[in-house]
Amino acid sequence: MKQLSQYFFLELKKTFLQFPMLLIGSIFLLAISFSCIFLTRTSSYGTEKNPPVFIGILAEKDEPFIDWIIKAANNMPDMGYSVHIEQIDKKTAEHHFFDNETNVLFIIPKHYISSIMHGENKHVTIRFSKTQTTIVNTLMKELAAAASSFILDTEAAMYSMHDYYQKYRLPNETKDDLSLNIKYVKEIVSFSNSMKSETSNAVPESSIATDLLSGGMVLLPLLFGLILAPVMTSERISVKKELTRIGIHFWKQALVKELVFFLVIFASFFGIAILWFLLQNISVLPLHVLSESTLLSETLLADCYGSFFLLISCSPVYLFAAAFSLFIYEISGDASGGMMLLFFSTIFMALFSGLFYPIRYLPEFLKHVAGFLPTRYAQIYIMKLFHQEPVGKEIFLLLLYSICFYLLTTLLSVMHSRKS
């Protein structure tokens, strides 16, 4: 027992002796998260619900209705994202694109409106500033198809009207054409009034901040394994054998390493919790929710309590991250291979378990795959913490995964030693 505790403190010392590197790593991670939060809050668009997506409209100066369309679109209520639409000229469009100021550029061809009226459908070009990866962009084609269908059905109605006027020689065709056109435009804009919305209460509301936070809380401990690569990389077989000879068996060695990793993550995230508290006035994270059951609710200490509660509650996630990282470094045997495999497996596990895109967007087959991934349960666990729901099942599963990875690490360690 004495030798085991000595080994534990030696490993702990070895890790904490490299504290400058851990500290720098943690500070870098913090720098990213806080610069994101800080810039979000202090951005020039800070007064908006969300900072805007900038959409440029490139059209001829005398193109009719463009001003009206821009004004109507800018005044559209509750868009989810705040969208700012502005007419720009060709030179500004290029300049904006290269400076990444424009997200999307709509290029309206010359005499577009009259071309629609004459049945000669010119194509509107939608140009994106960069490679698009979000779900909103995936839906752009569907949205374009919907917009096309609005235009084409209106056109069909207008042509039918003309045919009818010609057949029955009705008067005021031009005047009526304009008034019917305007009626259609008004109807298209207000057609959403035909919907009465009901919210499904069974699914708890989750904000973008909560989604990002829960995903980040799962990813950060796993990626922390990259910083600790020199410490986590498997010891030489001779050292392991020597440790076994003095009574510290492979399972004890793995356990010590896992505990050390766990403590290091815990210590590093403790720093994050302190900073959350210090910078709570710029925090956009719903940490006060976690302290609702206490008397601290809506007090200055609420965020502080929330952040420390979150830190301690995330222990099963840290434990899983420790067991998983140790397992990866044990099978790879070297820092380079371990880092590559750890990063690769973390990213794809996160992708398939809905950390980046909501799980409901994944194909059915992958939803089943997600059911076997520990990262899925880690995210559900953190989300449930925010919604103050029972988390017994998730804790059990995370501990089960941690034990499995720990046993596999020990088994691999024994196999490596026998092989040598």
Binding site: M21, L29, V124, R127, F128, Q132, L180, S336, Y361, P363
Partner: protein, 383 residues
């Protein structure tokens, strides 16, 4: 080989030597070979008919009218890889499917849909009940898609009402026949990249999971390059680099950074070529070449300023996470904070993702590489 000039011979020798060294890291190679395997897996899962967004619909009531029947028939057949509509017999099932996340949203329409649309034409009263999850970003877009399907009937009724005000006895069959004859389906929008070339990703409705693949590959190539830098640190620690002649050291440093990134790049291009998102081979190679140059230059710069391996390790998550969330690979944080757009210029991934369709980005990537190469050289010289 003797006929080769000594310089080329030397390069080819070091290339083979460093390639051989890579085989001493079997799990590094294993991870690289996992990349095409996972790509194949994603591609296979994308071939399944599951759409990204499943939308539950219910016609509430018995004996649906002609419009409701047509609507049901039209939407049942409408399913692509992005949106899929499906009908449920009971309206309670709409609520349960949305609650269980089987459907992203649900719509309940009355069986006498024609009457409802007609009533709406005269007085704007809601007649569709939408069941949605609060905070779901696709809600507004799906609403528009559904409304566009209903708009045809509404447009016809507006026309009928308009014409009925002009003449007392309108020829309804003539209007119906003309309206039907003019109906067509066509996409009136074209998607382009920044340089004006066709955006195939959006034009073809590429699967959601394939979209970040290029970004993931670029980050893996970058990480491979950085593991090369770690090997260089380890060589310095074990004294291996001291055995290399001083004149060859720079060549060795280059190959330490280049070889892992080179093989990662090749496997990345192979993986991309298995998917719908690959571009012309020559464009892929040019961009990857520029990206390798940017990564190697950045690695060289970091090796010049950071003397301790441990501190270098601590830099890695910063560079990787920064690339993932700012460039963007998965989520674009700059949508929430435009000020973050400037930060992405620090990461080579940003230039690589834009370079395929933006010659200026390719030029900027080369400038980026050149800048760090010169900075690294200057630091080495002063040091």
């Amino acid at each position: 080989m003797k006929h080769l000039p000594s310089f080329i011979f030397s390069i080819s020798l070091w290339f083979r030597l460093w390639t051989k060294r890579l085989f001493f890291h079997p799990f590094f190679l294993f991870t690289l070979f996992l990349l095409p395997a996972v790509t194949f897996f994603i591609q296979a899962s994308e071939f399944s008919k599951d759409a990204i967004l499943r939308i539950a619909l219910c016609i509430d009531g018995k004996d649906p009218d002609s419009v409701a029947e047509r609507f049901q028939k039209e939407l049942s057949g409408l399913s692509d890889r992005t949106v899929e509509f499906y009908f449920v017999p009971e309206k309670d099932m709409v609520y349960s499917d949305v609650a269980e996340q089987k459907a992203v949203s649900g719509y309940i329409l009355s069986a006498d849909l024609k009457k409802n649309i007609e009533a709406y034409t005269n007085e704007q009263k809601p007649f569709i009940t939408t069941v949605q999850q609060d905070g779901e970003m696709s809600n507004k877009l799906i609403n528009e898609i559904l409304l566009s399907k209903l708009y045809r009937t509404h447009a016809f009724m507006l026309l009928r009402n308009f014409l009925s005000k002009k003449s007392e006895n309108i020829d309804l069959s003539f209007i119906q026949e003309r309206f039907r004859s003019y109906q067509r389906q066509e996409l009136l929008f074209r998607f382009e990249y920044a340089d004006g070339t066709e955006n195939k990703l959006l034009q073809q409705s590429t699967g959601l999971l394939l979209m970040p693949l290029r970004g993931i590959i670029s980050v893996l190539v970058f990480l491979s390059c950085m593991t090369g830098a770690i090997t260089w640190y380890e060589d310095a620690q074990t004294g291996f680099s001291q055995t290399i002649p001083e004149t060859k050291k720079k060549l060795c440093l280059f190959f330490s950074l280049f070889i892992p990134a080179f093989y990662a790049g090749i496997l990345g291009i192979i993986s991309l070529s298995m998917t719908d998102i690959s571009e012309k081979f020559i464009h892929e190679c040019t961009s990857m070449g520029g990206f390798l140059f940017a990564c190697i230059s950045l690695g060289y710069f970091l090796l010049s300023i950071i003397k301790r391996k441990e501190i270098f390790f601590s830099f890695l998550p910063l560079l990787l996470i920064g690339a993932l969330i700012l460039c963007p690979v998965f989520i674009d944080l700059s949508i929430y904070s435009p000020a973050l757009r400037f930060m992405r210029c620090l990461f080579p991934t940003h230039y690589y993702l834009s370079s395929l369709h933006d010659h200026m980005a390719l030029f900027h990537m080369l400038l980026y590489g050149l800048f760090f190469l010169l900075c690294g050289k200057a630091i080495q010289k002063f040091h």
